[in-house]
């Protein structure tokens, strides 16, 4: 179903916001589509700048990583809702020179999925997608309870990374995490299903059976919704782009893009 009449969006446009966008450019233009990385709640552009951004550019794709409003170096946005995050993604995607591939991680995958319904991406990749809904809250009560009361989603290093990542490194990463707005956290728990993507892009879902935040079955469910099976990387934590074996999933994603 396409959404044609959008009086609410027309009457209440998302307020503008300044956004952080990092980029890595390949040495030569090989005609490959730009890849835009969208971090999850509490995460920001830097999580991709660690490894995936340069690696993607090295493989010939113009690579971009953004921070949603209220995250990283983007403008503060304590009142942002999920629609504002999706708007941020569509804004950055539409500003790129050519039709972009959108790669969203965690709850950023949900923002990306909402953006796919407002921008005809070349392709979509949902990494360890947190699509929310009450079951997310039940499965992760310790993480989600505080969020129900407006606190931050508490993510610790051992929930985010596998044991292969040196724990000091994991702790350093976890310390850099911020938080999403209360409203968006609420909306995540309430879990409104995104509309279908426009322009019928191919969508790939990637995850890990050992992710301690998103359950295997949730990843499969998202993959089914987009008509496929997920690509799984056993032994890895939720933050696949920061974990010790970060290279495997990004190579698989880029291989898929080259074939798609």
């Amino acid at each position: 179903m396409l959404s044609v009449i959008r009086t609410r969006e027309w009457a209440f446009p998302v307020p503008p916001a300044r956004r952080e966008v990092l980029r890595a450019t390949p040495e030569a233009d090989l005609g490959k589509p730009p890849v835009l990385f969208v971090p999850g709640f509490g995460h920001a552009a830097w999580v991709f700048a660690e490894h995936w951004l340069e690696h993607t550019a090295d493989r010939g794709f113009p690579a971009y990583a953004m921070s949603l409003r209220g995250h990283g170096a983007s403008a503060p946005a304590p009142k942002a809702d999920l629609r504002a995050y999706a708007h941020d993604v569509a804004q950055v995607a539409a500003s790129l020179p050519r039709r972009a591939v959108i790669v969203g991680h965690g709850a950023g995958a949900l923002a990306a999925a909402h953006a796919l319904a407002r921008y005809p991406a070349k392709a979509g990749v949902l990494v360890a997608p947190v699509f929310g809904g009450p079951s997310t809250a039940l499965r992760n009560p310790l993480i989600c309870l505080p969020a129900l009361f407006g606190g931050r989603l508490r993510l610790s290093a051992n929930q985010l990374f596998s044991r292969e990542l040196p724990s000091s490194q994991g702790r350093t990463y976890a310390k850099r995490l911020g938080r999403a707005s209360r409203k968006a956290q609420w909306q995540l728990l309430a879990g409104r299903n995104p509309e279908d993507p426009v322009g019928d892009p191919p969508v790939l879902v990637v995850g890990s059976p050992d992710d301690r935040i998103v359950h295997d079955s949730a990843v499969r469910k998202v993959a089914r919704r987009y008509g496929g099976a997920p690509l799984l990387f056993p032994g890895m934590g939720h933050d696949l782009m920061l974990d010790a074996r970060w290279r495997e999933p990004i190579d698989a994603i880029l291989d898929w893009l080259e074939k798609a």
Partner: protein
């Protein structure tokens, strides 16, 4: 891309058929789009997205249509700003940048369209400097399109297509009123299409005729720069400000639509808001509107009323006739301008097409279902032939998506497709306005955006195999 590098080059061997002794190059399942303005661009993009090959012909050297003010026939003037705010103006799947204002300038709209063409890689499909001089039906619901270099350069060539989208715009062929004595009138008289820059008005005594958005914009510029400004309108209008209640006025309107307030309530609320902000315009000598709010194409202009209040615009009634050196008004008054600007609008024109193909009535109005689909010609569509009460681009976007889906349906479920087309044929005289719009030469293709989009939405659902 140049004319000589057209879709098939000059290789006569590629011709598979002949028409009046001229070779016809068959482009197979490719669809032809006439014009690379906003409507043509979104047609190319959406056809591509649905897997069609597309050839687009554009008589100018760049994209953007009316918004490219370097184009010969562009109706834009240096100061043009949108009247529809961003959410209503942008394509529904390609947002305008956050950094831009609520009502971008025409140069920004052109930048947006240029970026759209690059982003979706549309330019390789466009043959610039190439004019369509004829489009005729061929057997099997196909179309023979005759092209030539713009301004007669080069020889004519015919290509055959599986479908045709006409996106040639309707704001370039001036509508010139026929006043008694106009031919003998000795004073410089231009149509607004020839108005480009405020320098043309500086120090002059200017009469602006017409109360559309163009007439109001030019009257405001004359108020700022000319020695005098008379503004002649033949009825009272609702001069809506660009901002109301702290936000773009069209967003207030859609707030009411979102709340599902019935039309009468919206007319009442809208009129009340206008009365309490803009005020009673008869104070300035303007006539009372002869219609309710939303019954004429909306005017969005905050400055006109401001300059009326400064006395720098003198409102005058309709022109009765022209004398050699003066203009006689319907109230008997005579004025002596030294420049007359006819801001009387534009008429649609399809010079390359037999009017019968669009089921054109004796007044020259095409009778098309949803203002898009022609009777008897299921592979023909007109895109952008609308006057919406909001921005045009989203409406044309969905028009072209619907056409692409119908073309696909013809392959997947031909019986269903022809049934759907028959249903469309029965709707050629249906109007898509909510309010009872004034009967004026410019209002036959006026549409209310939500009413219209509801109908398109329904068609999109029906066109799913």
């Amino acid at each position: 891309m140049s004319y000589t590098a057209g879709p098939t080059g000059f290789d006569a061997a590629a011709a598979t058929a002949w028409r009046d002794g001229v070779p016809v190059y068959d482009r197979g399942a490719t669809i032809c789009v006439i014009g690379a303005g906003p409507s043509g661009l979104t047609a190319i993009k959406n056809l591509k997205e649905h897997g069609f090959g597309v050839d687009c012909y554009e008589r100018e050297t760049g994209v953007g249509g009316a918004w490219n003010w370097r184009h010969n026939r562009s109706p834009m003037y240096a100061s043009t700003h949108l009247i529809s705010s961003k959410p209503f103006t942008q394509f529904p799947d390609f947002p305008m940048p956050d950094e831009w204002p609520d009502y971008p300038k025409h140069t920004q709209v052109l930048a947006y369209l240029d970026h759209y063409a690059d982003h979706f890689e549309l330019r390789p499909h466009i043959w610039f400097g190439t004019e369509v001089v004829k489009a005729e039906p061929a057997e099997g619901d196909r179309w023979d399109v005759t092209t030539r270099g713009t301004a007669g350069y080069g020889s004519e060539r015919i290509h055959r297509y599986a479908g045709l989208i006409i996106a040639n715009g309707h704001n370039w062929s001036p509508k010139r009123p026929d006043y008694e004595g106009l031919a003998e009138f000795k004073v410089e008289t231009i149509h607004s299409s020839a108005y480009k820059d405020v320098a043309q008005l500086r120090g002059r005594k200017v009469l602006v005729i017409g109360g559309g958005n163009t007439g109001c914009d030019i009257a405001v510029e004359a108020a700022q720069q000319a020695a005098r400004c008379w503004h002649s309108t033949r009825r009272g209008y609702w001069y809506a400000p660009k901002f109301a209640l702290g936000r773009p006025a069209d967003q207030v309107n859609d707030l009411m639509l979102w709340l599902r307030l019935p039309l009468r309530m919206r007319q009442w609320l809208g009129a009340k808001t206008m009365r309490s902000t803009v005020g009673d315009l008869t104070r300035f000598g303007l006539p009372e509107p002869d219609h309710k709010l939303y019954e004429t194409h909306p005017i969005a202009n905050s400055q006109l009323v401001y300059y009326l209040g400064h006395g720098s615009i003198t409102p005058v009634p309709d022109v009765k006739r022209f004398h050699r050196n003066s203009v006689e008004l319907s109230n008997g008054e005579e004025i002596e301008p030294d420049l007359v600007v006819l801001a009387t609008g534009y008429s649609p024109a399809f010079e390359f097409l037999d009017p019968a193909l669009l089921n054109t009535d004796p007044q020259g109005k095409p009778r098309l279902a949803l203002h898009v689909f022609a009777k008897r010609y299921p592979t023909l569509a007109v895109a952008g032939l609308l006057q919406p009460d909001s921005g045009l681009f989203p409406l044309v976007h969905w028009q072209t998506v619907a056409f692409a889906k119908l073309m696909r349906l013809r392959e997947a479920a031909p019986v269903k497709a022809s049934a759907l087309h028959r249903k469309l044929e029965s709707e050629v005289d249906r109007r898509w306005t909510e309010a009872n719009v004034k009967n004026s030469s410019r209002h036959w293709f006026e549409v209310s955006h939500v009413t219209y989009l509801k109908a398109i939405d329904q068609l999109l659902q029906e066109a799913t195999p």
